[in-house]
Symmetry: C3
Subunit: 348 residues, 3 copies
């Protein structure tokens, strides 16, 4: 966690740049990088609190606050009228977990330990669930891309229904996780990262980092439109590649680190757990929240996202199926991620 | 089988309503529900007869008469000029088996017995076969939806060729099933349902229920167009959701019941066996039959069906792969089915 | 290898027919069939040379010269301004390996030995890699078919980048194969085919057969356009079905033969190894080579190829997953190949 301290200096820098009317691109970059340690602190504080609570309260805390940074950034985006950015950040976050984190973990772990083994049943439950989540998630998009697109109010109703369905699945998944705790590896990066805070410290860190995340999110989101106008980079690309990176860097580090320690069940658990939370909880919460904010966002992904999501769920299922991994599989997940990133960059 | 008796009272009721020119929606519902016990009786009678015959004659009987109710309803639809309804009922029947029946079985079985085990090799053979069947089945649709659609006579020729291919696959599958009987669980719901009829009784029940199915099918099909006009529900939705339910309710009960008894191989066998029969035998028979009737129906599914079929085959393959199931997988298959149903309902 | 000798007589026949201005269809057929023994000789000579070299040089030789016949035919096609033919031959070659060769191997092997077993981990590595390769390979096509197609220079840049990515994956795969030799079955058909040439003989055969391939390719490619004009068969169909057959017949024989000897790991290794080489090495080399020739070819496959490739990768993954095969799976792969062939034939 020591790498966090110097990065925190970027928070006042981002604020200063904003007051000095610096270049939007610079503000975007600085505020984005400043979000990395804040998201990490917020995550660790949540896990430290959850560790002190019972199984149920802990699970609830983890699931509500565990993706707090992503949720705050996303709501800032919705309020700023950037639904494309927010939607892209949902699919980008899932892709990042299934391709980038999983790929880096398998690569580093495989280079160090050769062929690595993990429990195929546990990984299989997660992979099947992820495939199911992706299939539900892509339903509205499919029905709109088709030759007889559904329209207007139907789209919104379908999107809300699918969101409700996703939350129901999440509830079932939570129930299953708590009942079969030994089967579902706990994505508890706090412990792995060597963080042992008392509840009071954790609460203070939680509040402080939340405030920081809120401020940095506002700066970042305000810089998006000027940056798009100045550089020609698309809102979609920023959402699908940049935002997910910022919110998940800390998880990335921990997942790779435990893979390097040959704890593959935990490493897969972090990658799958995080992507399942995004798909089953964050996505529908954003749909309902956006409606409450009066700026409704629907769950209609574009064709590229649909294909990438289905493809990523498929590959990670294949890799999970045999209970073994090697560095080659990791390298190739990374290559797929890079190829997708290139494709997204060249979208008009 | 006791639940069947009171439902039989719906047969005279449906006929009476027709004579009284009652609301088409009422006739549709009553005749649909009346088909449930009739399809169940027809199925049980077929299996009872097959049980008394040798392996070959039994397999032939089961495969020709096992889906007699669905076939009769479908031919009534074709004669009434409702090819959309019939085509949708094919894909709906496969989806119902792979998502609704399998989902309910895994859910009920898993809630009762926790993690359930089954033979992954047997399930794998069925799942691979189902995926292959779906891929062949979607070929005509893909070639027509594409940017350079093939036309007219080519469509019909392609559809007939694919039908011939499907029947060839079915023949190979039948051959394989008979040669490797111990590997392919017998979908023999009659025995599980506690039905032990003598051949003569079975034959009488067979004839009686066939007549009943024919009459109820005619009433149901005649009510479809007025109901569409009155309620705005699409022909596609009726076909993809209502018809398959009616023809398969009895199988549903048995599959769920044996799952509750922890006989997962048999439960999966019923769900897969039924969907394979629909895909490999019923679908091509309808294509050839419709040609003979002078109202040619092609195997061109719409994009929504294509995606749903491929998705359903994929998920059930994933679930079958590890030889284990739990209630969460069941719950999620059901949720996918519900989400698809909602999407289909909102199609214009 | 005895079947090769009489077929070599077709080489002078093809040349004679060209000088006599015979029907282009006849020249196409004769030169295509003449390529079969030449490709076989070229392949055997390469393997014989590789067997005498060390692991690294051998792997390099095999990967560069192992698909020399396909590469020569493809470059003749590019020079003749037939990029559609060449592109189709890439996807056709992958489909041929995954459906036709694998199908024939499983069918013949299964009929002879009943249920056959193979190492699911080795097959799984290949199947996962193949799925990844296919996903990368289809990226440019997906981005161009979409509702907001990318254009012009972006297409070419994306295609070149993807080609570079594929070659990187191939390099990683080669590295992995050499380091884990016992895990990746060597596709060494030379040995299986009972060929034991000295380096000098092998070199002479290599040079002779290369010259033969070059001449026959020129004749074949020159006949393509007149044949299309005369028969109405599409350039796409010739590329996706005919060319891959010609280049791979020898591999087909060996793969089926070792399956008949119940060496399933080797049989799967030949089918997967060959399709991986096409996807990861031949395809990008053609893209770069076509650019050097001033007739740039992009890696943009049409929708039918995309779906067929993804479907083939998927099915072969399913079949590989459980470490067991039977004749039914083989028969069904063949049926899928035939169904695709029929579809491709009817494309306008």
């Amino acid at each position: 966690m020591r790498w966090i301290v110097p990065l925190l200096a970027l928070i006042p820098l981002a604020i200063a740049l904003e007051f000095l009317h610096a270049s939007p691109l610079l503000i975007l970059i600085v505020s984005a990088v400043a979000l990395i340690p804040l998201a990490a602190l917020l995550g660790r504080a949540t896990e430290a609190l959850a560790a002190h609570a019972g199984a149920w309260v802990g699970a609830l805390l983890n699931s509500t606050l565990g993706n707090a940074a992503e949720l705050i950034i996303a709501f800032a985006g919705i309020r700023a009228g950037l639904p494309e950015l927010v939607k892209a950040s949902i699919s980008g976050s899932i892709l990042g977990n299934l391709l980038l984190i999983l790929g880096a973990s398998l690569l580093v772990g495989g280079l160090r330990h050769g062929r690595q083994r993990f429990n195929p049943h546990i990984a299989g439950v997660s992979a099947t669930m992820m495939t199911l989540a992706v299939i539900v998630l892509v339903v509205p998009g499919l029905f709109i891309l088709g030759p007889q697109p559904i329209q207007g109010a139907s789209v919104e109703f379908l999107s809300l229904t699918v969101s409700a369905v996703l939350i129901v699945i999440y509830g079932l998944y939570l129930l299953y996780s708590i009942r079969h705790q030994q089967e579902v590896p706990h994505a508890a990066p706090a412990e792995e990262a060597g963080v042992h805070w008392r509840p009071r410290t954790a609460l203070a860190v939680l509040i402080g980092s939340t405030i920081g995340v809120v401020i940095m999110s506002e700066l970042l989101v305000a810089a998006v439109e000027p940056v798009i106008a100045a550089t020609g980079i698309s809102e979609f690309f920023l959402g699908v590649m940049l935002i997910p990176l910022v919110g998940n860097v800390a998880e990335h580090f921990v997942a790779v680190q435990v893979a390097a320690d040959n704890k593959m069940d935990l490493s897969l658990g972090i990658a799958y757990g995080s992507s399942l939370q995004i798909a089953l909880l964050v996505a529908p919460l954003l749909v309902f929240g956006s409606l409450a904010l009066g700026q409704p966002m629907t769950l209609v992904f574009n064709m590229y996202e649909l294909i990438a999501l289905v493809g990523a769920a498929l590959i990670s299922s294949l890799i999970a199926a045999d209970g073994e991994s090697n560095w080659l599989e990791g390298a190739q997940l990374l290559v797929v991620y890079i190829a997708l990133g290139l494709g997204f960059f060249f979208l008009p």
